[in-house]
Symmetry: C2
Subunit: 479 residues, 2 copies
């Protein structure tokens, strides 16, 4: 199989960067800074018509003067300068480019002509390029980030292909909050040359990518997309958000990436044929991808709901019923055993609600071990994380008035969580959690970093679990 043109773009040993300067006022400077100072270990050659040195690196006036043939050229330059830059790449022998510059297909007829011109030059020199009108790529596993947002993400298993640069740039802090780890992110922009199908082929093969998230305004090659996606979904999940299916969405998509969108039903049918999970919002797109990338699939739809609180217990049970998951009562023997372990006011049927108390061994270890080992249950929805931050707040408030043993509580929480995070692998069943605190709570951060998704509401955890089950059915060919 031919190597994907994305391979060198995502794994360059050397980058020629056109458009960065020593002034932050250029967008390109932020992007170059991310490459130079973001942990990327390859060589970086700034190209600039006047500057001799940029960010401490020797700058070259033209690409043809670089001391080596860079693996990729990244361009954040005015669009009238792009054709010559591409020609220069050709002369130098550079075969891959990322054209971040906008002002092409999305601008109507004149933009279309300009974009065609780029394609001709690229073809002449056998160059494959990403963009134009994109934000480039992230390869989290080699700390390469060509976007202009700082590195508020961690390496992980979610690969993203997006027609919106913002959804792989401005979303980085959002991924950070969610504890979502990225493998690769590819902003395809106008898809003049390399398109979403190329992206899918690449991420389909990429070992670090465990789940693929797509943001689609309009596909250029629906038939190839169908074939490619079909080959991937039996072994790797794909979640897609399509926004071109309404009148306003279609019009906005055309202004944004020059995309020709199709009717919603057409994409609905396409996704179904490919075995792609269709997300209805960005929230779902990222929530589901996170769970799919990190958790084992449930073998059935029967969930244990374990909480220390009746509201989340009831909400999750209700939400399960609405999304194809079951919360069957435990058999009487199991209920008996649960009652033996829990306070009098607890509920032992399923959901289990241990009610407000701070028996961390019980909720994090003893009850999960009991219920996850039941062969009639396929996964667990968990609500009941209250890490040290709550006691820190209390301590601040108490200001010496009463004693609060923070260190004891922290150690205890760490200990029970260390065991808890081993359960998905040990029992081969998914666990999804939720907590109204974010990563400011150490326990939330610990669980997320150990691979257990913790969502901001109980309902989002349930819907992500429903996506796991839906994908399992797709994989088994029952959906």
């Amino acid at each position: 199989m031919e190597q994907s043109p994305l391979h060198d773009i995502l794994n360059p040993k050397s980058i020629a960067f056109m458009g960065g300067s020593n002034s932050i006022e250029n967008v390109g400077t932020s992007q170059l800074l991310n490459i130079v100072r973001g942990g990327f270990k390859g060589k970086v050659y700034p190209v600039h018509p006047r500057e001799k040195e940029i960010m401490g690196l020797k700058a070259y006036p033209r690409i043809v003067e670089l001391p080596e043939v860079a693996d990729v050229a990244i361009m954040v330059i005015p669009n009238h300068a792009v054709p010559q830059a591409l020609e220069d790449c050709g002369k130098k022998g550079i075969k891959r480019a990322v054209i971040i510059t906008a002002g092409y297909e999305e601008m109507g007829a004149e933009g279309h002509r300009l974009q065609q011109h780029l394609l001709e030059i690229a073809k002449k020199h056998d160059i494959r390029f990403l963009g134009p009108n994109c934000i480039g790529v992230i390869n989290a596993h080699i700390a390469l980030n060509t976007t202009w947002f700082a590195h508020l993400y961690k390496p992980g298993g979610v690969g993203i292909i997006s027609q919106s640069g913002s959804y792989v740039t401005q979303t980085l802090p959002y991924f950070g909050h969610l504890g979502l780890g990225l493998s690769k992110a590819i902003s395809v922009g106008n898809q003049a040359d390399i398109d979403m199908v190329d992206g899918l082929e690449y991420l389909g093969q990429d070992a670090q990518t465990k789940a693929i998230a797509l943001y689609i305004e309009g596909l250029k090659r629906p038939r190839s997309f169908l074939q490619t996606a079909r080959n991937i979904t039996p072994r790797k999940p794909i979640v897609a958000l399509y926004v071109g299916g309404t009148e306003a969405g279609r019009r906005a998509a055309q202004s944004h990436t020059g995309s020709i969108s199709g009717p919603d039903e057409l994409y609905e049918g396409l996704f179904r044929q490919c075995g792609i999970l269709r997300a209805r919002s960005l929230t779902e797109l990222f929530d589901w991808s996170l769970a799919l990338a990190q958790q084992p699939l449930p073998n059935g739809n029967r969930m244990v709901v374990l909480t220390n609180s009746g509201g989340p217990a009831t909400s999750m049970a209700d939400e399960c019923s609405r999304h194809g998951l079951a919360v069957p009562p435990f058999d009487s023997q199991t209920q008996e055993r649960i009652r033996g372990m829990t306070p009098d006011t607890a509920s032992a049927k399923n959901p289990i609600d241990i009610t407000m108390n701070y028996d961390l061994d019980l909720i994090f270890n003893r009850l999960p071990e009991l219920t996850l080992s039941l062969k009639d249950f396929d996964g667990m929805l968990f609500y009941g994380i209250f890490g040290p931050i709550h006691f820190e707040h209390k301590k601040t408030m108490a200001h010496g008035l009463i004693h609060i043993p923070i260190d004891f509580l922290r150690d205890w929480m760490t200990k029970v969580c260390q065991t808890f995070v081993t359960y998905p692998e040990r029992y081969r069943k998914p666990i999804l959690c939720s907590c109204f605190c974010g990563r400011e709570d150490e326990a939330v951060a610990f669980l997320q970093d150990a691979g257990i998704p913790v969502y901001p509401t109980p309902g989002r955890a349930v819907r992500a679990m429903a996506a796991l089950w839906k994908y399992q059915k797709i994989r088994k060919g029952n959906d």
Copy 2:
């Protein structure tokens, strides 16, 4: 009109507190700490059989020995001790109680009997009480918080009545993240005496409550609920989440609050008759309440979508179409004016996408002033907040390599935001924003604190706007 029994519970001048001690191991201690150190200005009388002093306050062995008749007694004591405590309240002349203790109706037949016994004692002494099996109340405007979570909230316009204590306790950090300000929060628990209808009557009259959020597992008095809600919704919005309408939800609700739930369609019809907006998730419940409490209603469904990014622009346009909002193109004259103000690569039709640049005057002031003054448009969805935190990240990364004028950017952002937040009132049109950064971004915090909701995703802003429009139609009697 008779004064609501909730008046004294939410606005006590003095509180008798039973169940707190000097040890944090008692749940009651956390709750007492919140009252004592949370900013509440009234008197607090700890009642304890043995302790002479709790948190520096004189403790009394029994309620009958208090130096005055407290406005309310709060009980976090074992349930065998509650009847005597209620009798003591009666003897002392205390007419209001909050019974946090659990182990009643939710526990089946024996619990039912115990709960009936409390009702009898209360009736005998003319006591009205909240609970049992609740978490009490918050009155943010007098810094009264009887729950056991610290004060991670601010005073504001959202009033909550919840059958789940967790949704007015554990959600406090979530409200904090969302910038949601509380007026009052009432955890009704088992609703043995004071119930959701009483809560509605109270919040319907409460001037500080601008929107009411309900979490319902099952109503005790559906007919009174209907009448009460009907009287409120023409002047104050109500949003409800009902979770008792599925088999699993019903079963969990009964274990949680002893609620008898009804079929989903019944509640659906009830909400429709009352003019209540039905939320399908906690996310919607709080998102919508926030917007309804803080923003003017749109007079129509025609939205300006203003962004600096094509992905959010397209997503929002698509989401508007799917939720009853329109994003009509501007007339050609307006488009001309917008093109005159924006970069060449911008889109001027609606959505407006100024594309990536940092002209804060343009996106925060000049374009909103132009488009909000158009009489054919009814509200604005805004995406484009990038506050100082991004540049702080860059500065940290650059570490002196290039100059980043943080102070200049911060001052500029503050200036444009100060004007921006005056627009909803000036134009009498709602503005809802979204940003993938949370309150760690000063600009997000500034806007939220000035009353403009900023949601974590573009789609959530759109769906909240759709709720504003839906409520406007309800108010006008067209829905």
